[in-house]
Structure formats: C-alpha cells, structure tokens
Amino acid sequence: MENGNSKELLCFAGKGVTYAVEFSEVIEICTHIKAEKIPCLPEYFCGICHYKGNIISIVAMDKSGAVPAKDTLGGQDKGGHDNVVIVVDSGQYQFGISIQGEPWISTVDGNKIEDIRESLVPDKWKEKAVYRTESEVICQLDLAKSSEALASQ
C-alpha cells in the first residue's frame, strides 16, 4: 500500500540489477503463456501470444542478459520452473515482459537516487526512477516511454 513516499513495486531480476514496474501497470503475472516465435521480429521481441482475446507481443529486457533464453520461452527454466511473463499496460500498448524466475514485491520510499549518470536499462528501455534499498538497487521502468521506443522499429 502506498504511504507517503513509500510504494510497492513489482520487481524482477535483471542482469546485476533489479527491474520493477508499478502495480497499476500490471495486468497479470502469467506462468503458462504459450508464446509463438514469428519471423522478422526485432531481437528484443521474444514472440507473440494470444492473451484474453488479443494478440500481444512479448519483449525481453535484452537479447542476452536479463531475459530468459528465447528457446525456453513458454517452457521451463533450468530450475524446472515455468517462465514468467508479466503482462502490462503502458497506456498505449498492452504487452508481456518475459522474466527469469519469479517476481517479488519491494517497498521503496524516499531512497530515490537522483543522480543517475549511467542508464541501468538496455537499449530501447527507459527508466522512470532508481531506488536503493537495504539489499538492492531497483530500477523502475518507464513503460510508456519504453514501449514507444520498442514500437518504433
């Protein structure tokens, strides 16, 4: 629950950094999405899937690091767990973010890092804010700007 400067974010593991999205942008956390690879997709798209009556695209944070291997999408990771797709709504687009492992909730408060000299997100992605907690650095994604950039192939 948001309280003053504190708010909960849905976090997931990236390469050396934790990414997060706001709960208001999350539609569903899916574990059994059957994604289809299609030809000619830019490399940061893992595929498309049929989600509640619409076809949505599934994106990965980058082609090698923070994402599940494309070959295992829709299957299981090395630990035998189903890959997880967070379906989000950026306002303009509905899409899935394929993540490794399971997401978790972190509370962030006034510990926002204002001086960000180097972007923590891969190309095409945009960050909204970066927070430091006791145990991790959380990079909150700006889904509206990121999705616009991802769409402008």
Binding site: C40, I48, H50, G53, N54, I55, V59, G80, F95
Partner: protein, 680 residues
C-alpha cells in the same frame, strides 16, 4: 444437377434463414409449453402462423411434400385455435409430434444446399401426424368448419364491424368473462353489442360462448381499437376481426371469415403497419457483415500507414487536418460494424433447452435450465460457438453430474436438478459460467485416470486442483466406463476446450464433490472468422485467405515450367502468364524443412505469384486477429503479414495477404509494371 431451379436457388438462402428462425421460435414455444403442460392462447396462434408460413414458402420453393406436412399441422392448429380441434388430452403426444416435425424439417433443410439434394420421403412424418389426429379425434371428434346459425347471420347482417372472441378451453364462467370485457370495451365503443346478448343474466350464455364463441359488433371503423383492447384480456384465446369473404356480399350479411389477429387484413392496423420487428430489422447475410468488417479494418490499417508516411515526410499539418478526422470516422465505422454483429446470449437458450429436454427424457431425469445475464451481447460467431460448447457442457452435466431423482431425494437435494447459465461481459471479454448442482467431480478418480493415461509430466503432488480438473479436457479422458449416446468417450470437454481456444478464449473448471461442477468459458466479445489455406514453411505456420489461393501443385508436377529470368529470379510460366516464384522460407530467412516443395499459386487483387512452401496443411476457418500494435505500422508492409490467425490448439500462425507478401518479396518497380513480365 440441383433440385432447385434457378429462381428457387436464388431464394434458397432466404428460405433456409427464415424457416430456420421459425423452427427456433417453434421450439422455444414448445419447450415452454411442454414444461407447463399447456399450449394455449397466443402460442397456438403463433404455431399456426409458423406452419402457415412454412407451408407457403415451401410451396414457393417447389418443396411440395414439406408444404403438405406444414399444411397438416396448420390445419391442426387452426382447429386447436378455434377450440374445435382435438381436445388435447394427450399434450405430451402432441409435443412429441411437433418436436419430431421440427427435427425432420431441420434435417431436410440441412441437406438442401447439397448439389444432389432430393426431398426425402415424408410419408413417415405424415403418418405420424395422421396417427396423432386419429387418436385424438377418436376421443373428441373433429370440429371442422362451423356453419353460421340464423341468429348469427342476422347479427352479422347489421351495420358495423365484427369481432369473434374465443376463450381458453376450460376457463369456465365465459359469460362473466365476456361481460367484463364488454365493460372495458364500452369506453371505446359505446354502442357495442354481443351475441349472445344479456351476458350478465343469461344462464345459457356461458355454454353458448363456449361452443360458438362470442360475437361482438362495434361501430364502423372501431374494430381495430376494440381488437387491441380485447386481445390482452384474461383467458382470451383469440380475438379475430371478421371480414366478409366476398366484400360485395356484405350487404347480404353472408359468409364472414376470421382473420387472425396477427395476419394481414385490409383496414387492420396490423396489416397497414407491419409488426415492429419487420419494419425495424432486416436480415443480413453474415458473410456480408464479415466482408464489411474486413474492409473497415483494411481502411483503418491503410489510413494508419498513410498517416505515418505523412509524418515521416514532415507533413504533420496535413496529417492533423485530414487523417485524424478520417481515423475517427473509420473507428466509428468499425464500431458500428461490430455492433451490427452483436446478438444476445438469449438466442442460444431455446436450443439449449431442447438439448436438455432430449437428454432428460432419455435419462429419466428432471433438470431445469436457469439463465442470468442472457441480454449480454457478443459477436454472432462467438455466440454460435458458445452454443456448441454449452451443448456439450449441458449434456455432460445431465449425463455425469446430475443424479437421478431418487438419489437426489436420498441426498436431500430437490428431485429436479438445475443447470445455470450465467453470462456477463468484462471489458472485451464474455464470461459464461455453466454450473450444475449434481454430484461434482471426484478429484481422486481424476488423478487415478490421469495416472493410467500417463498425463502427469511433473511430480504429481505439484499439480493443483485446477490442473487436475483440466485433465477432463484432454482428448479421450473420461472417468465414465459406460459409453452412451451422450458421453463416455471423453470427447465432450475436449471439444469444449477446442471451441473456446478456437474462438480466442479459454476455459476453467471448478468442481466440488457432492455439490456440482462449473465450467467457466472466457471468450472475446467480438472476432472475425476467415476461411484460410494453411501452409508450413521453414518450421513456421502461415495462412492466407482461401480465396487468394488459386491452386497448389507438387513441385515436380510443374518444375519444367519454372525458369530463371535475366535477373536470376525464378519465374513460372503457367497458362500464358509469367509469375514470380517466391520461396517463403528464404524471404523470411528461415531454414526450409523439406526439399520436396509444394507450389501454391496465389492471386491478389494486383499480382499473382507462386509460393514455395514445405507443406500445405489444408483449408480451415480461423479466427483472425490484428497484429500487436507494438510491432509498429511498418511491420506489415515490411513482412507481408497482415495479421495473425488463432489455431484450434490456441497456437498462432501468421496471416499473409497475397498482395502485401508478393510486394514485400518481389518489390514491383515502375519498369516491371510496364514490362509485362518478360523473361529469358
């Protein structure tokens, strides 16, 4: 050679549509009437009119035997309507006959589009009707036409308009009921008169009305208002305006003929202003709506591309001035088309009640179908598929779920079981929950059967109850050892799941042992089904509208006609045309799976080409969806993929459009446009 001549063939679609709708209406009435064990009043009139229409339109189509069958039933209902027909003691028998006739006509209609259609021999169904009439009439005797009595003739010879009222059989106190109606009528027609007269204190009036009906005379021109006032009266079976059979003989007061209240009669309001539904609605072929929807979608996509082009060329002002309003109009057009296709869920209820009735009779069970949210609307195709799915679920509920009455009594449940269908829309989704109050599913039995069938692909203890219940949708999965005509082969829920997936939805099962089972179907509210040819190339599935795929060949069949042009590209010389040969896998940078290629000859509105594919999988009606917006407007022109199709297994294949694909694979240059495809 078709049974129908050219004129009849042109009318066949309309005949099938209208007669199909009439049969649906008939069954709706019968299901309700059978439930109440009562067939009276307006229902009799409606069935009479249905049979009358079927008779006429069948005759017009040259289907004389079918017309005769409808005629027999029209006669029967005419007598029932007049209260002079079979006493109807054995209504059950009557319902049986009517259901049989409805099934028979529907089966017959199902074959009419066949090229070799020949009308079936209808002797059996004619005999069935005749047997019923003989049986019924042996008890009560046929009424037939009633001759006017001298008293009636004298009454009808007076000046004015005349109405004839019949009360429902067995309503008793006909004179008092008639008196009450006349009191009501006096405010509209102060000079109203009746035969028999003195209704309030004529001891014979009740019997007279029972036998002959009540004749009413009103002032000239007041018949319409009077009829409207009387039609809704308590226990009024029919209220018909009498018109002279030969108008010129009216002066002599002879031979008046009943005109049913719902039928056309000159001077009658119901004739001059058709019923609401006829004036406000028009039947449109679904494929025309499909086409309209497709075109509006295409326009929207084109507009979007045009808008992007303008922006890229720095023409934002033009884009803002023209594209934005056009896009808004196109959006509205798209929404209007979508709305035109929407139908209420309630339209499947009569058919479901019929399914329920049949299985309940077979299995000696009593089950009520309750509905909620039936006004929820969805695309016609979705509602049709919902019916298919719901039919299997209802059958399963009765066959597997709902216990026989004796067992239910012992369990403290009402003898009559219940199947509930509750529909609601959530955003763009239609959610339909079909529940029964039967015995529910035994999770342990499901586990056991799943073990036998080796369905567990990970440690069994990790499976949730929902996943175990989902095994019911695996083809061939059943816990029922006995196979009957409704279930036991483990195909019902398999089909339900396939239907849900094919329609772009999904389903969930909930069950509690001893309490019942619910199947929840989630479907999109709208979608478009397109007939496609499916083919495989480089390990990927592709589809193309069937009408664009002219034919296909094995590569070996036409390899001698494939040549290389001056630019090194392959072309096919076929029927005096030179068309490009395009290897689909190569265009998309995929690895071809087969060396034995199939050649698919496709034709767009602008260009033709031969596509080399690994395999043609066949023709299938698929749910077409737009590409994800996020792929960007240029993805389509860059790839020739203009959408996706949802497969029966929930998978997705890319939908190609012939023109876009050919243009993307072999871009046409101005030179080529003029070169007429010369090759060396």
């Amino acid at each position: 050679m078709s049974y129908f001549d050219e004129d009849s063939q042109a009318m066949l679609d309309v005949f099938l549509l209208e007669t199909g709708q009439l049969l649906e209406k008939l069954e709706e009435i019968l299901i309700e009437a059978e439930k109440n064990n009562s067939l009276e009043g307006e229902d009799i009139n409606t069935i009479f009119r249905i049979m009358h229409t079927v008779k006429s339109s069948a005759a017009m189509m040259g289907l004389d035997s079918l017309s005769d069958v409808a005629h027999r039933l029209e006669d029967l209902f005419s007598e029932l309507r007049d209260g002079s027909g079979p006493p109807g003691g054995n209504k059950r028998q009557l319902f049986e006959v009517l259901f049989e006739v409805a099934d028979f006509i529907r089966d017959e209609m199902g074959r009419m589009r066949d090229e070799n259609y020949e009308p079936s021999n209808m002797d059996r169904i004619q005999e069935r009707i005749a047997d019923y009439l003989t049986e019924e009439n042996s008890g009560g005797g046929s009424g037939g036409e009633q001759e006017e009595t001298p008293e009636e003739r004298a009454f009808l010879s007076r000046e004015g308009d005349f109405l004839h009222i019949r009360f429902e059989p067995g309503c008793r106190m006909e004179n008092i009921r008639a008196f009450m109606l006349m009191r009501r009528l006096k405010s509209i027609c102060p000079e109203v008169e009746t035969l028999p007269a003195r209704l309030e204190n004529n001891p014979e009036a009740a019997e007279q009305i029972k036998q002959r009906g009540l004749l009413i005379r009103v002032e000239p021109g007041k018949a319409k208002a009077a009829q409207e006032a009387l039609c809704g009266g308590a226990f009024v079976l029919s209220c018909e305006k009498l018109t002279p059979e030969w108008p010129e003989q009216k002066e002599q007061g002879q031979q008046y003929k009943d005109v049913p209240s719902g039928e056309a009669a000159e001077g009658d309001s119901r004739a001059s202003s058709p019923p609401f539904q006829e004036s406000e609605f028009v039947d449109v072929r679904v494929d025309r709506l499909d086409e309209l929807q497709y075109l509006s979608g295409e326009l929207l996509v084109m507009m979007s591309s045009f808008s992007n082009e303008l922006q890229l060329k720095g023409q934002e002002e033009l884009e803002e001035k023209y594209c934005r309003p056009v896009r808004q109009y196109l959006d509205e057009l798209g929404n209007t088309v979508l709305n035109m296709r929407m139908v209420p869920i309630s339209r499947i209820l009569p058919k479901l009640r019929r399914v329920l009735r049949d299985i309940c009779r077979d299995q000696q069970k009593e089950v009520e179908l309750e509905a909620a949210g039936q006004d929820t609307e969805a695309d016609k195709n979705i509602v049709d598929q919902l019916y298919e799915a719901a039919m299997h679920i209802v059958r399963n509920s009765v066959d597997h779920g709902i216990e026989p009455p004796g067992e239910r009594r012992r369990l403290g449940k009402p003898e009559k079981g219940t199947v509930q269908l509750a529909a609601q829309s959530r955003g763009d989704e239609l959610v339909v929950r079909i529940s029964d109050d039967g015995r529910g599913m035994d999770i342990e039995s499901l586990r056991e059967r799943a073990r036998e069938k080796h369905l567990f692909t990970r440690p069994e203890e990790e499976y949730t109850e929902e996943e175990i219940l989902d095994f019911c949708t695996v083809p061939g999965f059943t816990t029922n050892d006995e196979v009957n005509k409704y279930s036991g082969r483990g195909v019902g829920m398999d089909i339900v799941k396939k239907l849900a997936l094919r329609a772009g939805g999904h389903l969930k099962i909930e069950s509690a042992k001893g309490k019942g089972t619910s199947v929840i179907i989630y479907l999109p509210l709208t979608h478009t089904i397109v007939e496609n040819i499916l083919f495989k190339s480089g390990g990927h599935l592709f589809s193309m509208p069937f009408y664009q795929a002219e034919r296909f060949f094995e590569y070996g069949e036409i390899s001698q006609n494939i040549h290389t042009d001056h630019q090194g590209a392959k072309v096919l010389v076929y029927e005096d045309k030179v068309v490009p040969v395009i290897d689909v896998a190569k265009v998309y940078g995929l690895e071809a799976e087969s060396t034995e290629k199939v050649v698919l000859y496709v034709k767009g509105s602008k260009r033709e080409a031969c596509l080399l594919a690994d395999e043609v999988l066949g023709r299938e009606k698929l749910l077409q969806k737009l590409l994800p917006k996020m792929l960007g407007a240029k993805f389509r022109s860059r790839t020739g993929m203009n959408g996706c199709c949802v497969m029966g297994d929930g998978g997705i294949c890319m939908a190609l459009d012939a023109d876009s694909f050919i243009q993307c694979a072999v871009p046409e240059t101005a030179d080529e446009e003029e070169s007429d495809g010369k090759w060396e």
